[in-house]
């Protein structure tokens, strides 16, 4: 067995062709290549423009409500009887999840690039809502592609997007989930390259998306670093976040990647169990392949056909994963584990009852892992979990799963 060479830094990727090791890259149709190169250039310019950062910081503060609090979950800490548990409360952001962090960054880019129309894909609808929100705020028409299954199970978010003026396209292909929505968004983009900005919601897709989404989400981890010093005078022992495509996780993890005494855990959707086909644990049981513009771990068959995943959480229901996570798995910097549907449901209820916070089903997966780990850790150790979304959108799904009529 080859031991991977430990890099000097885990934070230097991607290289100029968008690779994290063998992962990432730009696997797109030629029609899109000039646009992707244009986006890369625009992002490089924006990165070096203090005005861009100032405008974004201003929006974070006055529009989103950042910094989001770092909250000590006293009752859960006591109940689980081990490590101190802190939640990074990105569910308190305007629009109810971490997705707004990335959308604000990208809408400013779209404006700089002179684009006049926004398209986006969405699974749980959190990114769709955030995209519709920033499109309303900056006066862009916005079209959101959403799988038919997700339209049905996330109806509150569908209505929110409509209120915000977005047009929703219900995608019937495949299982009608996030993967199919992304295919359809890419098709729309190819047909409307002249005026359209594709606002990708997760840290996946062709380069430079994984990099720029990560950078826009890194505000999460950067804030945690400061807030942790204030609260405890030191950095945490462990970070935990859920991974679907992996944007909230990379946002929390990235600033800590070189702090190698901080243990980092990503939690995938284990669905109904890994021995079935009904899960989305691409890092745990998938293999490297090429989909949606990047090489990454995928759920696929022996012929290279992509499998339909399953998760109770629409936001984790994706058979791939951002390429940087694939790289962090291969070099063992981050540990990736699955949490099953029923474990997430239990975690959802525990968090609601003990802390008075109804989490989204996505971070409920992360909390399911915290429930397993915290009791085994010492009382002076610290876990920070990214509570990346609130659960209002999920109450119908959860009531159905619990057999309660509302």
């Amino acid at each position: 067995m080859n031991t991977p060479v430990e890099p000097n830094s885990y934070r230097t990727g991607p290289d100029e062709n968008g690779h994290f090791g063998i992962f990432g890259g730009r696997y797109v149709a030629e029609t899109l290549m000039p646009l992707i190169l244009e986006l890369e250039q625009a992002y490089e310019e924006a990165k070096n423009d203090p005005e861009f950062h100032a405008e974004l910081a201003n929006l974070h503060k006055h529009y989103t409500g950042r910094p989001s609090p770092l909250y000590f979950a006293e009752r859960l800490t006591k109940h689980l009887g081990g490590a101190k548990i802190y939640f990074k409360r990105d569910e308190l952001n305007h629009t109810g999840s971490h997705k707004i962090n990335n959308c604000l960054g990208q809408i400013l880019l779209a404006k700089r690039m002179g684009k006049t129309r926004i398209i986006a894909e969405t699974g749980a609808g959190q990114h769709g809502v955030a995209s519709a929100t920033v499109s309303a705020r900056f006066d862009f028409p916005c079209k959101v592609f959403m799988g038919k299954t997700d339209v049905e199970r996330q109806s509150p978010n569908v209505f929110r997007m409509k209120l915000l003026g977005a047009e929703i396209v219900s995608v019937t292909a495949g299982a009608g989930t996030l993967k199919d929505a992304m295919n359809e968004a890419l098709r729309d983009w190819v047909a409307n390259v002249h005026d359209t900005y594709y606002l990708i919601g997760t840290a996946a897709g062709p380069h430079p998306y994984p990099e720029l989404v990560r950078d826009f989400q890194s505000v999460i981890g950067n804030e945690v670093k400061e807030q942790m010093m204030e609260a405890e005078g030191r950095q945490p022992d462990m970070l935990v976040a859920c991974v679907g495509g992996g944007s909230n996780a990379i946002g929390l993890f990235h600033p800590f990647l070189d702090d190698t005494n901080v243990q980092i855990v990503g939690v995938e959707a284990g669905g109904k169990g890994l021995d079935s086909y009904e899960h989305c644990a691409s890092l745990t049981v998938g293999s490297p392949g090429v989909l949606h513009g990047n090489r990454t771990y995928l759920l696929q068959d022996t012929d290279g056909q992509i499998l339909e995943g399953h998760s109770i959480s629409a936001g984790l229901d994706y058979p791939g994963i951002g390429p940087e996570h694939s790289w962090l798995k291969e070099n063992n910097r981050v540990e990736y584990v699955p949490a099953m549907d029923d474990e997430a449901l239990e975690a959802f209820q525990m968090l609601s009852r003990f802390e008075g916070i109804i989490p989204a089903l996505e971070p409920s997966h992360a909390f399911a892992e915290v429930i397993k780990r915290a009791p085994k850790m010492d009382k002076d150790q610290i876990i920070v979990m990214n509570l990346c979304g609130r659960g209002d959108k999920d109450v119908f799904t959860v009531s159905k799963a619990l057999g309660v009529e509302i």
Binding site: N17, G25, R26, Y27, V28, A29, E30, T31, L32, M33, P34, L35, A173, G174, K179, N183, L186, R187, V190, A191, N192, V193, H194, S287, G289, V290, L291, H292, G293, L298, Q300, T302, D303, G304, Q305, I306, L307
Partner: protein
């Protein structure tokens, strides 16, 4: 690189003063036997180059017709192994008609790039069009394919500007495929005059033949596009004819004949352009 059946075919077409008719079907649509019989008969209907689609679960650059065709093939059990077997069968009776495999990268990557190129070459594949492998990824498959004597055919599109064109043409061999619309397969119809201008722009930069595809639906379109190019590709229209002939997703006695009827119309259209 060494001369391929594609190179020889375009030399022959030039001698005859003809424009190429290139047809696309998905391998295994609606099932492998019917699909094999369809491609075996295509040269007899006037087809010069056969493009055989390798079905993929997530065809991001394709419109509804080809998406459905790919799904039919996959549901009927088509795999890349079977697609190569079809080519091998075809070659038993036809040593001259070029075959180009077209599709997405992942099934090849999973098959193993080197093994795929070896097996494809020995089966009788002449060229590859891999939609999601841009020139930036040439090291992965394009250059190894050229070394095997398989043409790697690149798509030029309406978004390919003068700065980008040399990048696209570099390492392209066999022919250049001009995508006539910015969009997915089988949706809008291209404007023949714009297409002819784009083709002549590309021909200023390359010796390779330039064929045009996306949106050509019937003999008249084919004729109009053929006037300004070295070849016309028709895909979605043929695939739709297959779909229309099916009964509950299964092939009927009309399936093959209706494909040939359309193809002979297309062939007549292309030949009118050269007459």
């Amino acid at each position: 690189m060494i001369e391929t059946r594609i190179d020889r075919r375009f030399v022959l077409l030039k001698e005859q003063g003809r424009t190429a008719l290139v047809t696309f079907v998905i391998a295994g649509d609606p099932d492998m036997d019917t699909s094999l019989e369809i491609i075996k008969g295509l040269p007899g209907q006037g087809v010069d180059v056969i493009e055989l689609g390798m079905p993929f679960s997530d065809p991001m650059a394709d419109g509804p017709d080809i998406q459905l065709a790919g799904k039919r093939a996959l549901d009927a059990g088509q795999t890349l192994v079977k697609t190569l077997r079809m080519v091998r069968e075809f070659r038993k009776d036809d040593a001259d008609t070029p075959i180009v495999l077209m599709g997405y990268y992942n099934p090849i990557y999973i098959y193993g790039n080197d093994k795929f190129l070896t097996d494809a070459k020995s089966a009788g594949v002449d060229g590859l069009i891999i939609v999601d492998l841009p020139p930036e990824a040439d090291e992965e498959l394009c250059i190894p394919a050229m070394k095997q004597g398989i043409n790697f055919i690149r798509l030029a599109t309406p978004t390919t500007d003068s700065e980008r064109l040399p990048v696209v043409l570099n390492n392209t061999s066999g022919f250049v495929y001009y995508v006539s619309i910015a969009g997915i397969t089988g949706t809008s119809t291209p404007d023949p005059e714009k297409v002819a201008n784009a083709v002549s722009h590309i021909k200023n930069k390359t010796e390779l033949p330039v064929v045009v595809g996306f949106g050509v639906k019937n003999g008249e379109h084919a004729e109009a596009i053929a006037r300004g190019s070295d070849g016309v590709v028709v895909g979605s229209a043929i695939v739709s004819v297959i779909e229309a002939s099916l009964d509950n997703g299964k092939a009927t006695d009309k399936t093959i004949s209706s494909v040939y009827k359309l193809v002979s119309e297309l062939s007549a259209g292309v030949n009118r352009a050269t007459a």
